[in-house]
Amino acid sequence: MGRRGPVGLSACGLALVAAGTLALAGAGCTSQKVGGDSAGSNDGKIKIGLVTKTDSNPYFVALRESAKAEADKQGAELVALAGKFDGDNDGQVTALENLIQQGVKTIMVTPSNSTGVLGAIKQARDRGILVIALDTTTQPESAVDATIATDNVEAGRLQGQYVKAALAGKDPQLIMLDGTPGSTVSEQRHNGFLQGIGLAAGDPRILGSEPANGEQNKAQQATENLLQRNSAVNAVYNLNEPTARGAYAALQAKGLAGQVVVGAIDGGCQGVQDVKDGRTAQTVMQYPKKMAALGVDDAVEFAHSGKKPSGFVNTGATVVSDKPMPGVESKDTAWGLQNCWG
């Protein structure tokens, strides 16, 4: 019998410490809540859930913070959840389910994979919850009540048109840095860019395309490798601004920085600064703050009047560059720095 002693002790120890940790976590819960009421859907405050792709990308952080600010302004409560990485369908489904259980009135979701979370979205809508897709469309678009997003094909096309104009008649020799393989936004921007610059997929003037998952490190590495293969590059398509920074670093190391037109999309303040400093030729600004605010407004309206928004709301895209090109409408970086999102 005696031999069971140590195990019993250590096991109890674990239980005690674990209980302590949980108690701390529990205390955190109550102190975090503004109203002080215990959770529930019937305490008067409108509850809105937000599920973004990740918590790490500055773009989604801007989206989250803007939604929080707008919710505070409107007297609503916002619970912000996210997947752990781009492509975390399971994490997003779990987040959606937990929000449904919590009794939120509206869920705003930025789906990682356009088809991956449809089941959970349907469950939410079946229970009368308003579901709005933010930033990224679902396939089909009718899976949600409404979509508030950048027209990503248009954003890609604007980058393509600008790069084409900046090449001033030279034949493009293009590198393309895409997002996560299979991501809808990545495909839409990629295809839009090709339309804008006037190249067909598979054209030999596309020297190579690599998935960089929207990360600076991967983009730099991919560009280095592509340049190793063929350094006769004069244009780089970038999914977003971190990708463009990675591409620029690789070009600079090869001494090619001045001769290549580097495009970008996003409109973050650092991205606009990159344009101002000449690292990228332009960026296409999108408006996550507007998306988040419109979504929260719709949610509050729905809670008050039961009116559901519908269809696709395009929050717009604007080319930002200090070298305006004929035929491409653009704003300068002074304007860009005033309107960038974070």
């Binding site: 674990a18 529930g40 492509g87 975390d88 919590q102 009794g103 979370v117």
Partner: protein, 336 residues
Amino acid sequence: MTTAAESGTTTAAEGRTSVGELLLRTRAVGPALALVVAVALFSVSTKTFLNADNLSLVVQQSLVIGTLALGQTLVILTNGIDLANASIGVLATLVMAKMVIEGMPAWVALAVGVLIAVGIGAISGGVVTGLRLPPFIVTLGMFTIVTAAARIYAVGQSYPVTDPLLAWLGTRQYLFGKIEVTFGMALALVMYLVLWYALTRTSWGKHVYAVGNDPEAARLSGIHVRRTVLSVYLVAGLVYGVAAWQALGRVPNADPNAFQLGNLESITAVVLGGTSLFGGRGSVLGTLIGALIVAVLRSGLTQAGIDSLYQDVATGILVIVAVAVDRFSRGRIRDA
């Protein structure tokens, strides 16, 4: 040499035991208490946690990682670690879904997917035992290879489930007209029970614990160490194949980018369940509880209005606490 026997953790039970004794012996009592405390806390502090719907959901949310963690437990018990488990599962989901889309009967696709998982388990186990390389390194390599293989096979796309058999484990049924259950829950329970029985009531199970505790002692007592370790990787591969089927039941879409952190999340569940990362001590029942703790935390903290990053902080603290307790308890046994 005899510490394991003295701690009472590795011996198969001698005869009848009460549930309480069972928990004590399997080191699952601490985790079980932590789970109860967590459930109680969230039941009191939120109005939406404690109801049949939500508890059922919590179980469903823990199934995929819980199944991956079951295989992980086996490997960790042999003083190994499997960093490739989730990538094997992801490859299997892609094989299953893509083969069906390409016109194969669903049961063939399912079988091929599971067999591939077993095959990769065999390769990992073969390299670990054959070349005597550390499991951490071998499975790190396999993780990289299998992740790449999955992306090559997927050609940058995800594949929706188009056959009811592949999504069958996620089909929801109502028990007594009230409690939502899925076939996946039943299958996970059966797998846990079978492996619990195999580990505690068969000589294979005793060998697994003995090898994890002290391979030299195990060898001297006549246990075929390499064969035992290889068998563990094979069984683990089979379990990962089933985890793939579970994953398609939960999210009917095979995505090469899914479960990138599944290996670490499964280790989290194993550690929270009280299994020692140093091998030879622990139980699958603990792992089941560990997986549930993670899902309970995620659900409960969401109901309480806590954002996901703070949920991760809470989970991380628990992991460190669990390992610290294991370390101290180990020290105490050695001192005694």
